[in-house]
Amino acid sequence: MIWVTWRQHRAQIIVTAGFLAVLGVLLLGSAVEASRYVAEHAPPGCPGPAVACGEVAVALGRRYDAVYSVFGWMPLVLPALIGAFWGAPLLAREYERGTHRLAWTQSVPVWRWLAVKLSLLGGAVVAGGLLLSVMVSLWRPVFRTGVDSTFGNIGVFNMVGVAPAAWWLYAFALGTAAGSLFRRTLPAMALVVAGVAVSMFTLFQLSDHYAEPARAELSGTVLLDDHDARLVRAAWVEPSGREVAEPAGTGCPRRVDVGQSSRNAEAWQACLFGKGYRYAVYYHPPSRFWRFQWTEAGILALASAALGALAVRRTLH
């Protein structure tokens, strides 16, 4: 059965492995190039407060953006592709071509056929996701040490840690289940693409509730001094200590800003702070990275198991 699985799915396996290899080369090349640039241009004492250090940092940021823009779409598109080309055809193509009547009438029982295929391909998908995560995790520090971590940007968050593996596995399970329901490859592929997009949006919304948000009371500014935190919500705190969404009857003039300017809003905020108001921010600090990673992976793994069970049930009838 291992040979059968390899022979039937080798195209997907080879293409995915090839893609990861090309991506690895690209990331390695970009990291080596950036390191060389730093070695050549950064004067001693960097990173530090010197002007030259700032210039190097800006140049590094530009180098990072160039490569990041190439794979910025990966967190969404890769799982969708995995689901569409690994998961959807697994059962749908057998039904579509009638070969399930060949495959499931040999002496290997259907449950074993399913078990071998799901575990081997599922395992390969998880391995691929982890490999992507390792490569991105090794590459990012070259550019982003001290700039940001991998928590606040949901796109980056989904490409490091265990998230890619979980998303790939989930998409694979979703595709397999869709294939067992539709018994047609194309509709199953379409469902996977839509399903992955919807799931990602839903989990993003849900992620605020993975933990009780931390609370910080700010005075004099409405900006949290942590670029990488995930903001959940914010509110004004009256001098009495009561939280309100919109301060009313404060006596501070509020005017609408025109164009890009935020002068009026800033003036209003300064007036409020002057009258003893404070600004409460609810947020998740970057230190919760692994907690969030494992929570999301746990949800996706459970969903994958449920979808896998659905596919198995549908297939065994």
Binding site: W3, V4, R97, R101, A103, W104, T105, V108, H317
Partner: protein, 292 residues
């Protein structure tokens, strides 16, 4: 000659036994109240119009679907060649054989390779590039390489040219001559089965109409031709057709006494057609004994 091919002698043990089988797709019954048995070593023809339940019965026999009622028992291992001979298009012929070896506990790979070589089918050719006849031969070879006790073939001759039909049938019959192999094959073209089958199962509208030894069935039936009004007392009329003052009937039992009848033994096709035209008639061992 192998010793397991006695035609006469004691009744052979069943290779396939179906009891009270009922299969339902959503609300409609594809097969109802179906009980039959096919003796070991026979080549059984499963005939009936499209939608009669032939494929359903076969799928139940090879475990592709779970019946709602009743059960199917196969003595030993069954191999199945589904309609349209599904194979993996992107595999080469040799890879299909590896597929068979990897997915079966019993596997005679040498015999399979020899058969395909004998048929001149190149092992390196992609399945998708085979002719219809070659494809059928590869599918049959895969099924035979499992050394099954029961070979189930769904419309094995459909979409084949006459030469390929002959070749496929030769392959199957040679295997039957070689060892104790029971074959159940479906077709809606009765003439395909005339020389090859010795057991007949007729399905019609999801119900079993005929099941029995072909020779005994033909011996037990008569085609009567005579004037309208002649008495056919003593026989059981399966079906009748009238043209003008002449009546042609398919009956079971001894020739009637009325001397105006001309009686002859029916052909297989006549027998099958006679039953299919009269869905309410049945010739089943359980009802009156085959060839009463």
């Amino acid at each position: 000659m192998s010793p397991g091919l006695e035609v006469t002698g004691p009744r052979r043990a069943p290779a396939l036994e179906v009891t009270g089988l009922g299969v339902r797709y959503r609300r409609t019954w594809a097969l109802r109240d179906c009980s039959l048995s096919v003796p070991k070593g026979s080549v059984a023809a499963l005939v009936g119009p499209n939608g009669a339940g032939k494929t359903t019965l076969m799928h139940a026999a090879v475990g592709l679907l779970r019946p709602a009622l009743g059960g199917v028992r196969v003595a030993g291992e069954a191999a199945f060649v589904a309609q349209d001979k599904p194979l993996y298009e992107s595999f080469t012929v040799a890879e299909m054989l590896v597929f068979g070896r990897r997915t079966n506990t019993r596997w005679d790979g040498a015999a399979a390779a020899d058969r395909l070589a004998g048929l001149g089918i190149p092992p390196g050719r992609k399945v998708g590039a085979l002719s219809g006849g070659q494809r059928a031969q590869v599918a049959v070879t895969l099924a035979l390489a499992c050394r099954p006790d029961l070979l189930v073939l769904d419309e094995p001759l459909a979409n084949l040219d006459p030469l390929a039909r002959h070749d496929v049938m030769r392959s199957i019959m040679a295997e039957v001559a070689e060892r104790e192999l029971t074959v159940l094959l479906s077709s809606h073209v009765v003439s395909d089965l005339e020389e090859t089958c010795d057991w007949l199962v007729v399905l019609n509208g999801g119900r079993l109409q005929v099941s029995g030894d072909i020779e005994e069935l033909l011996d037990g039936h008569l085609v009567l031709t005579g004037p309208d009004g002649a008495s056919a007392a003593g026989t059981r009329v399966v079906g009748a057709s009238r043209t003008g003052r002449q009546v042609t009937m398919l009956v079971r039992g001894a020739p009637p006494l009325d001397p105006r009848w001309q009686a002859r033994r029916p052909g297989l096709e006549e027998l099958v057609m006679g039953y299919l035209r009269s869905p309410e008639s049945a010739a089943l061992p359980g009802l009156a004994g085959v060839g009463a």
